[in-house]
Symmetry: C2
Subunit: 287 residues, 2 copies
């Protein structure tokens, strides 16, 4: 349903843009209104800037719609002309400015060729306290030191798809709202609520105190096979601890766990990749 | 246990190399003895060349050892100097020539910086017939049109780790022995036997005739939940059909199946990525 727009005409704030409804054509890559989108390929810079400035970037029509649907406020959109029709309903509904740019300008500003043609800068929401998150949850995943954006995104996608209720992250886990995490998760980072558990690993006590046995996923031979620790006889409330690809869980996290569980390995293979292991474990604890 | 070497001295075949045991130092990027390793980053070229010339490339110490352990014959190795000690036992055991090169030369020949420092050219083995493969198997995965090397590698790794007995591939699936597939699989492509099913999908009859019900994995609402189709009551012999990321199984493959199974989805997520879905399905059918 189209809403009414602010009247058209040139944008008085800089004099360089043209406004049609809330659509502002920008052709200067240094236009300060585009600053949310600058240097998107500079991971180090963006990792600092985005949480500090309270924003994150959603990329592509599907992910932008999912972020909106999850209640994130839109700060602005950056669209190439051919995406304006596809995003018309969103443009009409949100009060945020929409910057129409050429693909070349988008590339100069962001640092890469924006294949998906649509970017949105969204406002972060304050993270919930772990206790609040746990009160309504039954199956929880706790990640330690998963500092790779692709892995975080993949694990969120599986956690959401397989019905995990909440995610808790050690302080050194990667940001689920970083552009790459969001993209790999296909927006699932918006669907499952998450919080940071700080200090680490002492914060795990909050989880246990809330009535969740802590199951640590580890390839260690001394661990119980996953199927023996899950299934109908297991506690309805379960917190599953996952470590990073390669190193797995730290000794401190393993010590803090109530039980160690492992996915039995065949054919002499020593491990699954962390995404596959997480998916299998989520499937097992949610059946 | 070191074996005896061929006597040292300059290599008479080109006059450019020095031979130490079976180690030949090469400093000419156009040396024809390096032709197995040229243009490794040219995917299209290598996809044609490698099957035609009967070779594949194993990259990194672990993967090279796993290929040897699986009985593949080594044609040659390309090592930078610092890898010679680490690979000494392999060098001593195999009759294949070992080309010692500088990292710069390795990069000029292959087209990329060889981080892992060790490459081996291995001889392919003839693929088994599907019937022969199926005779000793219980849990089989059949892939249709999985033409992405990363996905093929990831699925093989999970198939091996979770105890699938064999893999069957439609004619348009990617090559499991392509360098990227091998690497992502961590060598699991050597651990699970595989064959091509040709013609497609008529070849599926071979699978059914061998006593395997065909379970097609699909997000279709009409499909049975995975847990209802697997578990102790299910047939010991099971062939699980997987399609590619995005498109999933073709209508023809779905029609050829005996039963459709789905992984129930939560939080409004429409799908798992193909690697996660495969891992979950393998776990379910092998319990």
């Amino acid at each position: 349903m189209p809403s009414s727009h602010a009247p058209g005409g040139p944008d008085p704030s800089t004099g360089t843009g043209q406004q049609t409804g809330s659509i502002i054509t920008v052709d200067d890559p240094d236009d300060p209104r585009l600053s949310d989108y600058t240097g998107l390929t500079d991971v180090e810079l963006r990792r600092r800037r985005e949480p500090a400035e309270g924003l994150f970037i959603a990329e592509g029509e599907k992910v932008i719609r999912r972020a909106r649907h999850a209640g994130y406020r839109m700060r602005s959109m950056l669209l190439s002309a051919k995406w304006i029709d596809a995003m018309r309903d969103v443009i009409d509904e949100v009060p945020a400015p929409v910057y129409a740019v050429s693909p070349e300008l988008a590339e100069r500003v962001t640092g890469y060729h924006v294949h998906r043609g649509a970017l949105a800068s969204m406002q972060r929401k304050p993270l919930p306290e772990p206790g609040a998150l746990l009160s309504g949850a039954e199956r929880v995943v706790v990640m330690e030191s998963v500092n790779d954006h692709t892995n975080i995104g993949a694990i969120f996608r599986s956690a959401a798809a397989l019905g995990m209720d909440a995610v808790l992250l050690s302080p050194d886990c990667a940001d689920p709202l970083y552009r790459r995490s969001v993209k790999v998760s296909m927006g699932a980072v918006f669907a499952v609520p998450y919080a940071r558990l700080d200090p680490w690993p002492r914060g795990l006590e909050t989880v246990r105190d809330a009535g969740f046995p802590l199951l640590a996923l580890t390839p260690d031979e001394k661990a119980v096979p996953l199927e023996a620790a899950t299934g109908p006889a297991a506690s309805r409330r379960t917190a599953l601890l996952l470590g990073a690809e390669g190193n797995g869980l730290s000794t401190r996290a393993l010590r803090a766990a109530d039980e160690w569980v492992r996915i039995p390995m065949a054919h002499g293979v020593d491990s699954l990749n962390v995404g596959a292991a997480a998916a299998v474990a989520f499937y097992a604890v949610t059946r």
